[in-house]
Amino acid sequence: MTNAAVRIRGLWKRFGEQVAVGGIDLELPAGKFIGLVGPNGAGKTTTLSMVTGLLRPDEGTVEVVGHDVWRDPVAVKARIGVLPEGLRLFERLSGRELLGYTGRLRGLPGAEVDKRATQLLDVLDLAGSQHKLVVDYSTGMRKKIGLAAALLHNPEVLFLDEPFEGVDPVSAQTIRGVLERYTASGATVVFSSHVMELVESLCDWVAVLAAGRIRAAGPLAEVRGAHPTLQDAFLELVGANGRQAGSDLDWLGGGAPR
């Protein structure tokens, strides 16, 4: 048994002329809370899609818990949970129906699906809206029901693309609690975000992605290095530290005479 949850080698993806992911080599340790950070357009979603088998890479290999994603999908798909960003759910089902459907597609017995769904809906604070159609859910509720669907089959590795984007603080705290409990049991969470404070407070391992390449990867303290916050380290890594939005806008400010 290898102790890497995900092993990526030479991963490339081009869309026409544009290189979305330009040769990523990365090993993500098992049992950690891992943050994949980067500015918009860095290739986070593309990378996660290729790692989870939703997008075919141009080159490179991906192994999840020792199994090749493209050569051994049976072993991989049973072991991963995914919450993508920008893709729909089956929104004309109610929250509970969506979980029932997902669980049965995963091959779980009906009674077990019902039990797990009830518990997940309770923990994620969705029990009151479980019979409402997902199309009428708010963003936070959608993320939570997506998370429930991803956790239903008790995966070894969970991939979450921007799980906190557009989520209110209460739902965010609920999601956080569930994820912390999940990793405490030895499972791996890989999530992407561009909110550094969040990553810093949640993750113990970080990979910084910019322009389709890995700029730094390792335990949080190592990536942060001498910088006071991850935000500072990140800005330097992606080369945005010199940009000061100050002097040109000298007219801007409250109380100025009209």
Binding site: L54, L55, G86, R92, L93, T102, L105, G128, D136
Partner: protein, 529 residues
């Protein structure tokens, strides 16, 4: 007070002008449609004058008034964005009293091409029955009343449904509107053909009832007054006026409610769809366990709940029934037209994954072998068969009964089953090989750039289905020939059933490995909507 009316009328004109300035195409379309509508409205006037000399003229004018009012009632529901002054919640922040506001909105409703065309059409309607001085005087009153009822009806319906129109359900409704128009126009077409052959007198009982339904009752009053039945005329006018008052009162009520209560659409509903889910609990237990049952259940729920899927299904069901039945009623059809039902419903198997939209990722993540892809496709095909098999059988029996061709039943039913199997096979394969996105908003069914793909999928698939059916058709022709042909043709039913099932299974088997091997490509193709 009149100041407000003037302001709202000017607001309406500015909105109209602003809307037209948005794009050249929109302006041209508006001008062309306005000119055509006005020309039509003007052209019908001499037609109505001619009609007034016909024995059943007033029957037409009463019915036409009722249809016109129906149009006014439904148009704001189907085209909620057409007139922004229809939505009083936009004015909610302004310090306005309901009564002056309503007067202003009612007057502004009378401004525009639509009301002008309606005025001309109603003028034609009251022209037909008008005779003598009293008749003409009544006609003037009737004209005004009928126009006001039409406009107030639209306002009242819009105000009562404004929450619905701006909500998700309202947008769902708008997707279905095209369908209602399409099927409605088929029915009108059929009715017109019947009338053409049977004469206007057939409408008499309908018109007699409509004579007491506002605003058609106003037109009926013109006829009553012209015939000297002043009491009846007065009653009909009074009925119309009462309806107008009732509409305005109802409108005022919903407007006051709208402007004084908060929009509840963002409040959390504790038990919104509770009843719905509970009801389905019993039925789903009848479906098989595991993936097959889950897929069937989801597919069937989507037929009912997803507006796009529902529209496609209702179209298929309606066309599949109407074409054979209409032709059979006119004794111009063939018994084989019953296969339309199987053919139209079989079309639903095409682009299965496109119907999922980008939610297909949830399916893709649970398919890791051709076996699972096969179960997925088979579940979808079974769900389709659950509706299609009884429906196709029903349409076939109905068609055979209408044509009184009972000896043909086994072979037509056999042909339907064989065709259905072939459509399922070709549909499954096309779903895996030529998936395309279905936009979720609006009436379009293909996103720009994928039209070619959709054509290949549907027409290539239909051609393939025809080829797959060819051996069975040849068998039918061969068996039906000869002296003892009729005696043996009952064999075609079991043979058709077995042939259809065999072809369908083969198609699913061939499609499954393709689907399993192309999951990322399918996801990319169906996520463009």
């Amino acid at each position: 007070m009149t100041n407000l009316t003037g302001t709202v009328v000017r607001l309406k004109l500015s909105l109209l002008r602003g809307g037209l300035r948005q794009s050249r195409g929109r302006r041209d379309a508006f001008i062309v449609s306005s000119v055509l509508a006005l020309l039509f409205a003007l052209a019908q006037l001499p037609g109505m004058v001619l009609l007034s000399r016909q024995p059943h003229g007033e029957v037409v004018s009463v019915t036409a008034t009722a249809v016109l009012a129906l149009g006014w009632a439904f148009l704001p529901l189907f085209f909620p964005t057409g007139d922004e002054t229809l939505d009083p919640t936009r004015l909610v922040m302004l310090p306005l009293r309901p009564l002056p506001l309503m007067r202003a909105l009612l007057v502004s409703s009378l401004v525009g091409v639509g009301p002008l065309v309606t005025l001309l059409l109603l003028l034609g309607c009251v022209l037909v029955p008008a005779r003598g001085a009293v008749g003409w005087a009544t006609a003037v009153v009737a004209l005004v009343l009928a126009l006001l009822v039409c406009v107030a009806l639209a306002r009242a319906v819009a105000a009562a449904n404004v929450r619905l129109l701006t909500s998700r359900k309202g947008r769902d409704l708008a997707v279905l509107s095209g369908l209602v128009i399409a099927i409605g126009s088929q029915l009108v077409n059929f009715a017109a053909r019947r009338l053409g052959s049977g004469g206007l007198g057939q409408l008499r009982p309908v018109a007699d009832v409509l004579s007491w339904v506002p605003p058609a009752s106003a037109v009926a009053a013109v006829r009553s007054a012209s015939e000297g039945s002043y009491g009846i005329a007065l009653a009909q006018l009074a009925l119309t006026a009462a309806a107008l008052v009732a509409l305005v009162v109802g409108w005022a009520r919903s407007m006051t409610r709208l402007m004084t209560t908060p929009d509840g659409s963002t409040l959390q509903a504790a038990d919104g769809g509770r009843a719905e889910s509970r009801r389905t609990g019993g039925r789903t237990r009848l479906l098989p366990a595991g993936r097959t049952g889950a897929v069937m259940e989801r597919t069937l729920r989507y037929v009912w709940r997803d507006p796009k899927t529902k529209a496609a299904w209702v179209t298929s069901l309606a066309v599949g029934l109407l074409i054979p039945v209409f032709y059979a009623l006119q004794h111009t059809g063939s018994v084989y037209f019953a296969c339309f039902a199987a053919g139209m419903l079989g079309l639903q198997m095409y682009n299965q994954f496109g119907q999922d939209t980008s939610a297909f990722w949830m399916v893709a993540l649970t398919i890791s072998s051709p076996r699972e892809a096969y179960e997925e496709l088979r579940g979808r095909a079974l769900a389709l068969l659950l509706i299609t098999l009884p429906y196709a059988a029903l349409v076939t029996v109905l068609n055979v009964a209408l044509l009184d061709a009972w000896p043909m039943l086994p072979r037509v039913l056999g042909m339907s089953l064989a065709l259905l199997g072939a459509m399922l096979a070709a549909g499954a394969w096309a779903s895996a090989r030529f998936p395309y996105s279905i936009p979720q908003e609006g009436l379009k069914s293909v996103v720009p750039g994928q039209a070619g793909l959709a054509w290949i999928s549907i027409f290539g698939g239909m051609l393939t289905a025809a080829v797959l059916c060819a051996p069975y058709i040849a068998l039918t022709v061969w068996l039906a020939q000869g002296a003892d042909g009729v005696g043996r043709t009952w064999l075609l039913l079991p043979v058709g059933a077995v042939y259809g099932a065999g072809v369908a299974l083969l198609g699913l088997r061939l499609a499954a490995p393709r689907a399993a091997g192309r999951l990322p490509e399918i996801l990319a193709a169906v996520s463009k909507g």
